[in-house]
Symmetry: C2
Subunit: 416 residues, 2 copies
């Protein structure tokens, strides 16, 4: 009896990249290669879902085992990611239909979407429209986001490494400032990502800074400055970790404070400089500030081994779910023990994930609003544990470079 | 025949710290412990030279071998550093006399000063005044500065690790931006240190960014924006490494915060947002920027092994010079071969080092002013080679904490 013909698969990276999203891709590709009876060619979207819409399908089969393995220590999104949100089915049914058309043209039966909240939603919708159109498709979401805001899963691959970056950087800069404070810098402010939730700022708690500014806690200048002055008076200096999402009680972002540089340009993206300005103007203390921006989410050299393990595990599980016939699910990371930290991968339905944002629990924020609780540190410690090895040559990291061979187009150009 | 009584020693850290200055301290302390016949107690100045003036002398003999060894992977300045420039002998003879008085009171015959240009000058002056006052003192300068601007020595301990940080961070963020550029960020700007010279910015050349902004090359907005647009048109995105010392032809700093430090240096910080503002206003391109600030000089987790080896070697050599009876000298790192990289430590007279600033050679800057030459990359590659191990526990680096036991005071309080 002949076995059924294998179906091809499509994988895409979505939204902001992380230092371990390529590790998920590598595990997914390696696992798919172990199921030649079920999975034929695994295509990756060039620049994410746009690659499907534009029919720009990278043939991952053309990439060597060595290149795929090297993806595990390569930051960025090797196939290209994108910020492109598919609209609702009602508003743009044509876009979903185009996706299915491309899948059909290339005999794609598996859709793996590697992203955060938006892409979980898209993944579910693609699954639904395929069903409505009678096209057999299994859509599996692979979690990834430094924002750590997906529900059900205990954490999101990508977050643990940012958490480690923020904690380590705060410790290191803290040692620097402590040694200089007698005659020089007394206040150091590190601005970190997290527009909507303080997960990343909370990770700074591992370094025990004097002040953490969360988006969840309305910012009050007077209270902040008093806390800075108290730290300086008590120990000679003050270390601040500030979320880019810091805002006052009215919801005004501090980053929009409207400071202007020497050229009269509005200073951009700057909670740290806004706070530094207050410290200078109101307290007259010498300050320094850093804004880590993309460095924090691309610092593969400082990735957490736990985070890398998670990223690999969800990539592998996604393929296993696919070959087991599952649809509209996501591998979630479930914590089964804090100490020692233990975890496992469990299947979660996308219907319970799409459009649900997991916020930083109130019990992770210290009562004064400027620090974290022991429960928060326990949560974070597990995620930053272990140092993921990188490959180095002549003092620099070696990153994978994919060939990016595109499949031959079979359809007319996408109208957009 | 009784051997001569050992003399005590004094060590101080000066100016901005580096991720390997404590390694020099550790090597110096460990080596001093091997010469009990010549060196008695090795004191470290609490907060640098202020510790001598205030007679706050940390007894390093009270620190365990384990703590001293752990200093090799501890960022910051473990004994405290300071920005405190002794004035000229004419202007403040009393300050120098106070130093000698403290040295005399504690039987200090060796003065080790671990710093950059200013401290080389101070070290020489202290040596001179001791001689004039008839006090037997050997003053040895131990090189350290991320600015890499000391003469004679091929490089300065501390610089190689910053160079590695900048090169690796630029590569990583570059991978991030490349994967997002199709729909999102097209221009990324990393601001790095280097007030007077482009050494640190030049290290970014190892990552092959599209544009490097050097303080040595007068900034022209039109030319800069044309180069940005060209990179975006050609490859889809543009990576910029910008020195904090960037300035126009009239010497106006792009980032002029208007505050000054203890030396009267203007405090800078904000070239990246200034450049980002131009990109937004004139080109309308989506941008991101990062300002690494202290993170770059305290990132011990990413230190260069070569840099660490240099830092250890100069600490060890300083003590060997001292016990060999030398005075007013500095161990310099001399490159004897580029490929393979080979180096040795040689003695250099402080008279040839004090007040001489080594600038980035013009032949390291590419003709268009926006990149580096092959010669520059060859120079830099040697310095970033190797990954210096750190100690980790539960995912975080383990840093040394000194007890800081102070010697009993023997003099009246310092007037200042």
């Amino acid at each position: 009896m002949p076995s059924p013909q294998p179906k091809n698969a499509f994988y895409a990276q979505s939204g902001g990249v992380t230092s371990v999203i390529n590790a998920s891709a590598a595990a997914l590709i390696e696992t798919a290669r172990q199921y030649p009876q079920q999975i034929g060619t695994l295509y990756a979207g060039k620049n994410g879902i746009l690659g499907a819409l534009r029919e720009e399908l990278i043939d991952t089969g053309a990439e060597s085992d060595e290149t795929i393995a090297l993806l595990k220590s390569t930051p960025g999104g090797a196939f290209g990611s994108c910020r492109y949100k598919l609209k609702s089915l009602e508003d743009n049914r044509a876009e979903y239909e185009r996706l299915i058309e491309v899948f059909k043209a290339h005999n794609i039966g598996y859709f793996f979407y590697n992203g955060g909240n938006d892409s979980a939603d898209t993944c579910l919708k693609v699954s639904q429209i395929a069903e409505k159109m009678g096209y057999p498709l299994q859509a599996i979401h692979v979690p990834k986001t430094v924002d750590n805001d997906l529900p059900i899963t205990d954490c999101c691959p990508g977050f643990g490494s940012v958490a480690k970056y923020v904690a380590v950087s705060t410790m290191e800069a803290g040692a620097d400032v402590a040694s200089m404070a007698e005659t020089s810098t007394k206040v150091f402010i590190l601005e970190v990502m997290g527009r909507h939730a303080g997960w990343i700022a909370a990770a700074g708690g591992l370094a025990n800074p004097d002040i953490i500014i969360f988006p969840e806690v309305p910012f009050e200048q007077g209270k902040f400055l008093a806390a800075v002055q108290k730290a300086v008076d008590t120990k000679g200096h003050c270390i601040v970790v500030a979320s880019e999402g810091a805002q006052d009680a009215e919801g005004n972002f501090l980053a929009d404070a409207g400071t202007v540089d020497a050229f009269g340009h509005k200073q951009l993206g700057g909670v740290a400089p806004a706070l530094a300005g207050m410290v200078r103007n109101e307290l007259g203390l010498k300050y320094h500030w850093a804004l880590a921006d993309y460095l924090q989410r691309s610092a593969r050299h400082l990735a957490s081994q736990t985070d890398l393990d998670h990223a690999l595990a969800v990539g592998k599980a996604a393929v296993e779910y696919a070959v087991a016939g599952k649809n509209a699910v996501m591998p979630a990371i479930i914590r089964t023990s804090d100490s020692p930290y233990q975890w496992e991968v469990q299947e979660a339905p996308l219907s319970k994930i799409a459009n649900v944002e997991k916020m930083l629990p109130a019990e992770y924020i210290r009562e004064d609003g400027y620090g974290v609780t022991e429960a928060c540190n326990t949560y974070m410690h597990a995620l930053v544990a272990g140092e993921a090895a990188s490959q180095w040559r002549d003092g620099l990291p070696v990153h994978a470079r994919i060939q990016g061979k595109l499949a031959e187009k079979k359809l007319a150009d996408w109208g957009k």
